[in-house]
């Protein structure tokens, strides 16, 4: 979508890249080619430098020579002034890449005696343009003419003609103008130069100065409408796009270790996403820097480059402190994989910080950026600005697929989950470190507050700093909340004892059972024996009884034999019997 718009604007309007860092981004390609642009602003806001850089970059980067017509500074002054920014104008002039022309107007030596025009100026400019084949022209500050010449009618008509003439010449021109009280320029130049107007501003808030640039108007082109902070340093001008160019960063599925095994386990066992933004927040002294150092060390071990911004400690102090928990960063720093950028946040304004970040990142080209901590910025600046700055940093880093780890100090009074800077929405993975005060001890707990795009653990872990780095332990939830430190150790011992007891119990029960079984078996054997003895006795009785019955029968027969008569009678009956 953006590309299409970009192409469209290209088709309708040719643009002339300025080569000024960031400026071409916000104007989608630079200044309108072959047209004049008005650059206005108050004294000392960098108009001249903007013009000079436009020419120097134009000739060195795009092979477009340029003419600088100065109405204020002499050529010598100009050369000297911009030499501090690394521009060698003398050399460029010698090689016919840049032509300087200082227009000197001395009111006291001029007498106006009727109709005149500024053809002299046109000829001078035309001559300078033709002498080097210039494609770019800067007129700095043409309004000085109004101080030198009285006839305003002529002047205005001639200025109008000059801008038309510049257009006809097809040169891309910058006209600078001093800012007026209510108007953009004192003499209302914006009336004549209506294609593109850029305003530079230099403000001081809370003793820190900030330079800002705004594209007031850009006919026939899309442009960023915000105020963009810019910097002037030893490499010239750099404009920083405030809000990023959209949420269009490419995302990576690659995972990188946090440097702490247990933490990786909490994050699906794999760690952070590459290119994501990690925030470690917590109260003072909970180990935020230690986590950052772990991450840095792990990255260096993988052979990645780490850029570490420390805003509270000096690099050597940080390295010494980290050595105490077994993280040795020094070799990595020596090997050039780890670079420290240590400054106090109050050292310069937010924009400067942003610019320094940009520059350092572009120069070092790291895979990982650590900022420790981010909220010290608030000391000097308003929260809103800090947030917008961090947003820009986050977007910039994301755009470059750089994994960022920020630490943030939360004051113990405010809610733990409200990070001071309120940047939670920018953060992909948020680790919260908190101290847990219990039983006269202060221990550290850690949990994953959020982690976009992964099933993270919901557990609170105890966070222990050992000689071998950070370790995470399970915490116990007791009657009075989570148990940490010695309470946890006591709980552990308690549980171990319980376990032992249980084991012994089982053993005891098993023995009891065995015994019971044996008793049961013995009883069964006894019963068995008893039954046997009874059985045999019973059998004996039965036999005895049967013997008695037989004997009785025998007795009866014998008796019958002795009583003969009865026996005869009975004989018949006996016959019937078997």
């Amino acid at each position: 979508m953006k590309k299409a718009e970009h192409l469209l604007s290209q088709a309708t309007l040719q643009k002339s890249p300025t080569g000024i860092q960031g400026f071409d981004e916000i104007t989608a390609g630079g200044l309108p080619a072959g047209r004049p642009t008005l650059v206005c602003g108050s004294a000392g806001c960098g108009k001249t430098l903007f013009g000079i850089e436009f020419l120097v970059r134009g000739t060195t980067l795009y092979n477009e020579p340029g003419v600088f017509m100065s109405f204020e500074e002499t050529n010598e002054e100009l050369i000297k002034n911009v030499a501090s920014l690394g521009f060698d104008l003398e050399d460029l002039i010698k090689h016919k890449k840049i032509a300087l022309d200082h227009v000197h107007i001395e009111r006291s030596e001029i007498e106006e005696t009727g109709e005149y025009d500024l053809e002299g100026l046109f000829i001078r400019l035309g001559y300078a343009i033709d002498s080097i084949g210039a494609k770019r022209v800067v007129l700095d500050t043409i309004e000085s003419l109004f101080a030198g010449l009285l006839n305003q009618m002529i002047l205005r008509a001639e200025l109008r003609r000059l801008f038309r003439w510049l257009k006809e010449k097809g040169v891309t021109a910058i006209i600078t103008g001093e800012r007026g009280e209510d108007t953009l320029t004192r003499q209302g130049l914006e009336e004549y130069v209506s294609d593109c107007v850029i305003m530079l501003d230099h403000r001081v808030t809370e003793q820190t100065s900030t330079r800002r640039l705004r594209v007031v108007k850009y006919r026939g082109s899309l442009h960023g409408t915000n105020e963009y902070p810019f910097l002037i340093d030893e490499t010239g001008f750099s404009v920083l796009p405030v809000t990023s160019l959209g949420l269009e960063h490419k995302v990576s599925n690659e995972r990188i270790s946090s440097g702490i095994t247990e933490l990786d386990k909490m994050l699906e066992g794999k760690g952070y996403f590459r290119g994501s933004t990690v925030l470690v927040s917590g109260t003072a002294g909970v180990g935020k820097t230690s986590m950052a150092a772990h991450f840095a060390e792990a990255a260096c071990k993988r052979g990645e480059r780490v850029l570490y911004f420390c805003f509270e400690e000096s690099p050597s102090q940080l390295m010494r402190n980290m050595r105490s928990i077994g993280i040795n960063l020094e070799p990595w720093a020596h090997r050039g994989l780890l670079q420290f950028q240590a400054t106090r946040p109050t050292f310069y304004g937010l924009e400067m910080h942003l610019a320094v970040t940009h520059k350092a990142v572009n120069a070092f080209n790291p895979e990982i950026v650590i900022m420790d901590p981010i909220n010290t910025f608030i000391l000097g600046d308003t929260e809103n600005e800090v947030k917008s700055m961090l947003m820009r940093i986050v977007d910039f880093l994301k755009g470059n697929q750089i994994t960022a780890l920020f630490t943030s100090l939360t004051s113990s009074e405010s809610a733990l989950e409200s990070s001071d800077v309120g940047i939670s929405s920018l953060i992909d993975t948020w680790l919260l470190l908190r101290d847990i005060e219990l039983n006269g001890e202060r221990n550290r707990g850690m949990y994953v507050l959020k982690s976009r795009g992964m099933a993270n653990s919901n557990q609170i872990r105890e966070f222990i700093l050992t000689d071998n780095g950070v370790k995470l332990r399970d915490v116990y939830v007791g009657a009075s909340g989570v148990l940490t430190g010695s309470a946890r150790i006591a709980q552990e011992a308690h549980e171990n004892a319980g376990l032992l007891r249980q084991k012994q119990d089982i053993e005891r029960k098993r023995r009891e059972l065995e015994r019971k079984r044996k008793v049961m078996e013995a009883r069964v054997a006894a019963l068995h024996a008893e039954f046997k003895s009874q059985e045999s006795e019973a059998l004996k009785n039965l036999e005895a009884e049967q013997e008695i019955i037989r004997l009785q029968k025998m007795d009866k027969i014998e008796m019958a034999a002795s009583r003969k008569s009865v026996t005869e009678k009975r004989k018949t009956k006996k016959h019937t019997k078997p």
Partner: protein, 121 residues
Amino acid sequence: MKKKKEEAKETTISFDEAMPGLHEGRYILRLFITGTTAKSVLALTNLKKICEEYLEGGYELEVIDLYQNPGLARDEQIIAAPTLIKKLPLPFRRIIGDMSDIEKVLMGLEIKQLQIRPEND
């Protein structure tokens, strides 16, 4: 300003006294014009008339066409056209315009004051 008046006074005396021998305070003038534009032509005729009238024989006038010598525009710090530069006598002056305001041209050349002075005194 005061200094200028004094200077002018001195000139007055010398001018009055040495009226015929002007070569001592000889006027060296350069007129820069731009081709044959109406203003250029007018300026040239006006200037010639003034010089004939007030500086007869006591001046050197060089007419330069800027179109022919564009480099001179920078060297002589010229922005307006036509421009008349009074190189000598000092002070250095620039008289711009088509010279139709003769009073002002004379003031620029510092001739007018000379003329008025005796009447005022």
